[in-house]
């Protein structure tokens, strides 16, 4: 019988992509469908004194408005449960949803939104992580003592320890320190965020979604709608590019609320501006690396401090600093590791997952340290990596035992492809044993 695993074959669901028949969420239209536009905070940080939507609601062609009061369940969702569907009191980032209008078309919705009377007191925002750490910095999250994520009361630093970091640096012949700044990136998929919702023939809330994780998001949505999974038909499976951006809910909750309130099919889609400026992002990082190594190139100590800018809400940032820390010393056997990591809030869009998911950021910093080490020792950069690369049985930072190590095999294939003749002593190495 032919073996299919290992064979190249074209995309199973690909024909529809080259004929234009593949259906994406924005392609879905129902007769009498209404459209949603969101009233977004015009300021980076502020307190709403009053919001009058009466003129909005009375505009011809408007079915009505949506506010936090329309949420049957809790106005909270997300991996750490602190994201808000609407923020009626103290917006924390420019563009944060405050309320929404539902109308016959988007033009009408925009005209109506222009009539909203928003009385908001603008406050001084904080954008830079290290400004946010200063004692008198503006507080991003109302009612908290500082701008740091707390694992437990008073515990704002996540730590990973392996071996003995002091002993490691004593053994080291050399040390290289480096500070690395990495910016904020947007997923920028070609498909902006969008959601279609309606009440189906079994009186269930039916949502057409491009979510990357249907079950996780269903778990977030049920408490918002105060509905059991049996009352929601959450239909997804295709997405016009996710890259982590669609690991967070941007439209499903608001479209769902609109369908529940007005009992009509509803579409809520982001404009490209909303997608680019207000959706979740890969958050900025600052790393402080200190790497101790022997004259023959072996890495003996790796002290890493991570500072991760989470933006206005928690998103997935604690999970990010943890996963980054576990792999931030690279695919290398380092006996002594100390990772100290913090999540810092600022008045910026929310940091969450994006392709590479924090591990990318650590690898960029570690590989730059490795390149600097090779330069300082006058060692061939390939050789430095071959020497330190994991072998089966080596232990990673969080005490995981490495199985199926393959850094050497990857480098050998890359060198071969690049036409680089590696010296014999490297060619003899493999990842099975040192």
């Amino acid at each position: 019988m032919t073996e299919y695993v290992g064979q190249s074959m074209p995309r199973y669901n690909g024909i529809g992509q080259v004929t234009g028949t593949a259906r994406y969420v924005d392609d879905i239209q129902f007769p009498g469908m209404l459209y949603v536009k969101v009233l977004r905070s015009p300021v980076h940080k502020g307190t709403i004194r009053n919001l009058d939507l009466s003129a909005v609601a009375k505009t011809t062609g408007v079915a009505g408005v949506l506010t936090a009061d329309d949420i049957p369940g809790q106005n909270a969702y997300g991996f750490y449960g602190d994201s808000q569907v609407f923020n009626p009191k103290q917006p924390r980032f420019k563009g944060e949803p405050i309320a929404a209008v539902v109308a016959v078309d988007e033009d009408t919705a925009m005209e109506a939104l222009a009539k909203a009377k928003l009385d908001i007191e603008e406050q001084t925002p904080v954008f830079d992580m290290f400004e946010a750490l200063k004692p008198n910095a503006p507080l991003v999250r109302p009612g908290t003592a500082n701008n740091l994520f707390e694992y437990a009361p008073g515990k704002t630093t996540f730590v990973i320890k392996l071996g003995d970091i002091e002993k490691g640096f004593q053994e080291a012949d050399h040390v290289i320190e480096g500070t690395y700044k990495e910016g904020m990136q947007d997923h920028c998929p070609m498909e902006p965020h969008v959601s279609v919702a309606r009440i189906d023939d079994a009186d269930r809330l039916e949502i057409y979604t491009h979510s990357q994780c249907l079950n996780v998001h269903l778990g977030f949505l049920c408490p918002v709608f105060n509905l059991p999974q049996s009352k929601i038909n959450y239909i997804g499976g295709r997405c016009g590019g996710g890259f982590g951006g669609k690991n967070d809910i941007h439209c499903d909750h608001i479209a769902g609320l609109a369908a529940l309130k007005f009992r009509k099919p509803v579409k809520f889609r982001f404009t490209r501006k909303e997608d680019l400026a207000y959706s979740t992002k890969r958050g900025p990082w600052v790393f402080e690396y200190k790497t101790g190594f022997k004259s023959d190139g072996r890495i003996v100590a790796s002290h890493i401090r991570e500072f991760h800018d989470s933006g206005a809400y928690t998103g997935l940032s604690p999970y990010c600093i943890e996963k980054c820390g576990m792999f931030a010393s690279g695919p290398y056997a380092v006996p002594n590791i100390l990772v100290e990591a913090q999540v810092i809030y600022t008045n910026k869009p929310v940091s969450s997952s994006m392709r590479g998911f924090a591990v990318l950021n650590g690898q960029v910093a570690m590989e730059t340290q490795m390149s600097r080490i090779a330069e300082q020792l006058g060692l061939d950069p390939w050789e430095l990596r071959f020497i330190n690369a994991w072998r089966d049985g080596d232990m990673g930072a969080s005490r995981y035992v490495v199985q199926g190590a393959g850094a050497i095999e990857a480098m050998r294939k890359c060198a071969e492809l690049a036409g680089i003749q590696l010296p014999a002593k490297l060619m003899e190495m493999n990842s099975r044993r040192r």
Binding site: P10, R11, T19, T21, Y24
Partner: protein, 154 residues
């Protein structure tokens, strides 16, 4: 006030009742219901809405619908001749020139316009002509391969 728009779409005459500020993209997707052409940015930056007007590649999101009165418009739905996929569609599918597929219809229409003008384009000519079509999944290398395969008559 509404205006009547009449033009030829994929070989057949169509009429639609449109506003003056409706774009060809709005009309194709929301009035006529051909949703193969995609809306990625509405500002002419991504190329996902590329269609052909009188066989020239155009951003449908930048084209006021009424300006295509009396012209011929070709969209991705017009590429299939009978039951036979267009050579570009077959090549895109087989060379993996489509991952999420959202930019693919725009890529196909630009590629068709390119090959209509230059049947044997060089790699740099393909890159220059196609550079208005963005793809975040990064299918650029496979799109080039697929176009070269069709140009080479493979």
């Amino acid at each position: 006030m509404k205006h009547v728009l009449s033009f030829t779409l994929n070989g057949a005459p169509v009429d639609a009742l449109v506003q003056a500020t409706d774009t060809l993209l709005d009309v194709l997707r929301e009035k006529i219901g051909l949703t193969g052409t995609k809306r990625g940015c509405d500002t002419g930056n991504c190329g996902a809405c590329t269609v052909l007007i009188d066989n020239e590649p155009v951003n449908a999101c930048l084209t006021i619908a009424l300006t295509v009165t009396g012209k011929t418009v070709t969209t991705v739905e017009g590429l299939v001749e009978g039951s036979e996929l267009h050579p570009l569609q077959k090549a895109f599918h087989e060379h993996g020139a489509s991952q999420c597929g959202f930019c693919t219809s725009g890529m196909l229409m630009a590629a068709k316009a390119l090959l209509d003008k230059h049947p044997q384009p060089s790699r740099s000519a393909i890159v220059e002509f196609m550079s208005g079509n963005l793809c975040r999944c990064g299918t650029y290398l496979e799109v080039i391969e697929a176009i070269q395969a069709v140009a080479g008559g493979k």
